[in-house]
């Protein structure tokens, strides 16, 4: 755990307490059972916004707290531990895009609403099932955007889309010219193919050529925070289970074959945490963000992948049941691994940006 200041410790403790009490995995089970395609609880998101979480990276002049990315990451990690379904990450990333690329007018219009939780935002970037921001065909003519975006996170609840066209990022409000086709994935959260057919679009003019890349780096790092919370939770619940389950008249935790596997996972988890926190610290310092984001998401992918598989295996048959939570983490894990860069994509990017 990074060394935190008092403000950050309070924020983390508050998020941990809220997630544990108000948003355990049971809350997600309820949402899933409701069949609501939005797949989150509006009251719960309202409470999160009340606590200021949707404005952590938004400047104070626009209604946020400007606590920084490490603070945002702490909250997201805690919510990841209990698989809290919410548009917090999506909205934070939409806000980040406007902070980086918006005009004064766009900032004044959207940031206070996003920070207050009144407006839900999301990124609409990729056009296929594999992350590939170099291949974009969405285009804009006369202020109207057309194109189809695949697997948009939190699309059903979104009021505002940050859409990548071939020549830059645009803000598109839901409504005329925007239609959704639900794509129900294994994690049973909100995903949709979003078609823009001559939808009114406003360009984010600032932020330069690197705007899309900068926004994606933030997406990688914040997503890695959710994954870190998930990996920590799977590790903790698996360790608990091994300490309780008795076979051959012995608790499983006393078997060396299992002890060493947990020691391996513990080491991996330490590396994942360092990489993810390194990403957040890079964002706050503004130094080495691209490299840090690649390392953060690549480590998050590698470790959560292993953790979610071992979590099932070490639970045994009971881990395969819907009644146990561990399987929920496995399904969400793969969705997040594939989002904003698979492991193969990130290795290629690391080599490319390192000059080899």
């Amino acid at each position: 755990m990074a060394v935190l200041n008092e403000e950050q410790e309070m924020l983390r403790d508050m998020a941990r307490e809220w997630a544990t009490n108000e948003s355990p995995v049971a809350a997600f089970r309820k949402i899933r059972a409701s069949g609501d395609p939005e797949a989150f609880d509006r009251d719960a998101y309202g409470a999160m916004a009340q606590m200021g979480w949707s404005g952590i990276i938004v400047p104070e002049e626009h209604g946020g707290s400007d606590f920084g990315w490490l603070s945002a990451g702490l909250v997201v990690e805690e919510l990841g531990k209990t698989l809290t379904a919410s548009p917090l990450i999506a909205t934070t990333l939409a806000a980040a895009a406007i902070v980086l690329g918006g005009s004064d007018e766009q900032k004044a219009k959207w940031l206070p609403r996003l920070a207050a939780g009144e407006t839900i935002g999301t990124l609409a970037i990729d056009e296929g099932p594999r992350h590939d921001p170099a291949k974009l065909s969405a285009s804009v003519a006369g202020g109207k955007l057309s194109g189809t975006k695949a697997f948009v996170h939190e699309a059903h609840g979104a009021d505002l889309f940050v859409v990548a066209a071939a020549d830059g990022l645009y803000l598109v409000e839901k409504g005329d010219g925007v239609s959704l086709a639900t794509r129900k994935l294994a994690d049973q959260r909100s995903h949709a193919e979003v078609t823009f057919d001559g939808a009114p679009a406003e360009k984010l003019e600032n932020g330069g050529d690197s705007l899309l890349g900068d926004v994606l780096d933030r997406a990688r790092i914040l997503t890695a925070c959710e994954m870190l919370g998930m990996a920590q939770a799977v590790f903790d619940m698996t360790l608990d289970y091994l300490k309780q389950r008795v076979q051959f008249n012995q608790v499983l935790a006393t078997f060396q074959a299992l002890q060493h596997r947990m020691a391996d996972l513990f080491g991996d988890l330490a590396m994942m945490r360092s990489a993810v926190e390194g990403g957040l610290q890079a964002l706050d310092s503004g130094f080495g963000v691209t490299r840090a984001a690649t390392i953060a998401k690549a480590e998050a992918n590698r470790v959560l992948h292993a953790m979610s598989r071992e979590g099932i295996q070490l639970h045994g048959g009971i881990g395969m049941t819907d009644e146990y939570d561990v399987g929920f983490y496995l399904k969400r894990a793969r969705v997040l691994e594939a989002s904003w860069g698979s492991t193969a994509y990130l290795r290629d990017r690391f080599a490319g940006t390192s000059g080899y």
């Binding site: 935790a253 590396m271 990489a275 080599a351």
Partner: protein, 403 residues
Amino acid sequence: MATQPDVTAPGADDAFREEVRQFLAENFPPELKGKGNALASVEGPTQESDAQRKWREAMGERGWGTPTWPREYGGGGLTRRQARILDEEMARAGAYNPIGGMGVMMFGPTLLEYGSEAQKKEHIPPICRGEIRWCQGYSEPNAGSDLANLQTTAEDKGDHYLVNGQKTWTSGGQWADKCFCLVRTDKSDKHRGISFLLIDMDAPGVEVRPIQMISGMSPFCETFFTDVKVPKENLVGEEGQGWTIGKRLLQHERTNLSGGGSLARMMGASLSDLAKKYVETDADGAIADKVLRDRIADFEIRWNAFLLTARRAAEESKAAGGVSEISSVLKKLGTKLGQERAELTIEIMGLQGLGWEGEGFSEAELAGVRAWLFGKATTIYGGSTEIQNNIIAKRVLGMLDHQ
């Protein structure tokens, strides 16, 4: 270990930085620029050039080779902040720390914690000046991973102990002046029968035989003790406290063996630079072998995550005040990655990377082969990876044998 409080008056950093620069300009021999500290490593050699001696003495005089150790025992008495400035300025000047070895890495910090006042006064200053080489008398033929099974005995003879037995894997034993040693003072209790004793390597009855390893080098020795008389004042702590003190020393050892920053500097050329030199590149300057390129990226991402972990552990232990059980995690991770890197290195070079000696190979290529082989020791010594896994599972994760 006591460290000066990290409080600095405004402008004091700049003044200290200026002092360091002046010291380096006056004392660091330019011909040593960019050279490593081979003399302080456990693998020897012992021959020192005039320039090397002059540099060691200058640093030793100031205590700056052991910058945060207390001034009263010959350390630098610097704050961590000042030590960092010293580090930065030395790196800038291409200077190395000439004070090192097991005395600095392991024995000194342990003695500062457990030694008597007289022992600290006697043994710490020569370590700070780089005058005395220490070696470690821990492992025995039948006490490897099961270290507490050690059988070398120290019999109480009134005014001295009489030591008999055999130690093995004594790193640098052939060059060492003194040995910190775990000995058995009580056969009835496996752990509480162990004591921590300091033995002169030139005392009558001490015999050292180097062991030739698969690397062709002999960094380790067998050490035999036959009726060796050791003065009573060379006992550290109390009789029976050796296991506690000895384990503490291992935590220092693990923190150092895990590598981290110093290892990164030691490793020299990056794998990708190496690959560009030995493997074809495409028109964009990328490594043409895409599979190899992917594996190098995979390794370097994990290596970076490890370096971040080492840094995080240092920051966290600063708050907690000393080394901790996280040292087991670092040792396990760092040594595994170090071996992976060595395997990748020789693979990239092909057969050119497996030269044993003679014509047709560069010095770096030959050194790489020996380093690859020597590196196999890193997951075995200092508590094998399997032992680290036991420590992590039992002490950190609470997965006990009996519940």
